[in-house]
Symmetry: C2
Subunit: 148 residues, 2 copies
DNA sequence: CAATACCCGTATTATAAATGCTTATTTTGC
DNA sequence: GCAAAATAAGCATTTATAATACGGGTATTG
């Protein structure tokens, strides 16, 4: 049971943008800071832009910028929308289900409740909460390093 | 984010054994009822036996039998022990971690809390709870069908 | 002794993620 | 106004991992 790296990278991108909100940040910058493939990051940026969470600007001085307030976006929301498959077991998806116990199976309900407990715990955490110690993060990001 | 089928099949096996506790149940029977590969099920049975949750008996009249009381085993326990990878993101595993934000990253703590909420919700559910409506399950399992 | 059923290690297959490449669009500078 | 450069967006390929299938081995019963 693990989160897809897609969601993971999306959260890292949002965290960075929440820390460096001044100018637009290029995907290349994000790629360098996080040590993640450029093209892979571009793909996640695309998904974030589609949902209106970030603004993308093309051209010579383009890049990514947060389009919403960090306190308005929760980790739970991000994962609910971006995680490609939240069906813990096959019977969660009626189309793929092969288990004929479903009618009387209480396991499914228990797992549903547990998943909801997981997500609602993350609903309590906003992007603003994640970056509350901005100085420490900026140090790790290398933001504010005067020397080239 | 989804559970491995390994854990899934293990839980189904335990549920069946909790419903049919009289004689030993062969892996072949379990395979037929659930429509799952024989060898794959045998592998999960092995893991259950190693933990003392079931007894296996070889030979002509052999099979699997529950070795503990259904109310003493929780779903949470099963998943904690059997799920091969509960590391939601790479930074949960220091050996595989490449993210250099770890020291100041609050995301990890949020995810840890959420995972614990998920598992503790499942700790509240015992195997006995899952099979409380035994007649309905036995009907689905085909247990008690007089006609051949 | 023969048949049945669990035990264990290996190999193949399938699926999904990660990466790389190509195309299209925008902006800046001449 | 045009050309060049930078960047986003979309598409295809490679890679890795998990699930599954298979074979031989061992123990037990009748």
């Amino acid at each position: 049971m693990q989160l897809s790296r897609f969601s993971d990278y999306a959260l890292r991108t949002l965290m960075y943008l929440a820390c460096a909100p001044d100018g637009p940040t290029s995907v290349g910058q994000l790629s360098q800071v996080h040590g993640i493939s450029f093209h892979h990051l571009a793909k996640t940026a695309q998904a974030l832009a589609q949902r209106g969470w970030i603004e993308t600007r093309r051209g010579r001085t383009g890049g990514l910028r947060l389009a919403i307030s960090p306190s308005d976006l929760t980790v739970g929301r991000v994962i609910r929308e971006l995680e490609p498959n939240l069906a813990l077991v096959e019977c969660f998806d009626p189309a793929k289900n092969h288990c004929n116990l479903s009618p009387a199976c209480l396991l499914k309900h228990s797992l549903s409740r547990a998943l909801e407990a997981f997500l609602s715990e993350l609903d309590r955490v906003s992007l603003a909460d994640l970056v509350q110690d901005r100085p420490a993060l900026n140090r790790l990001y290398g933001i504010g390093e005067g020397a080239a």
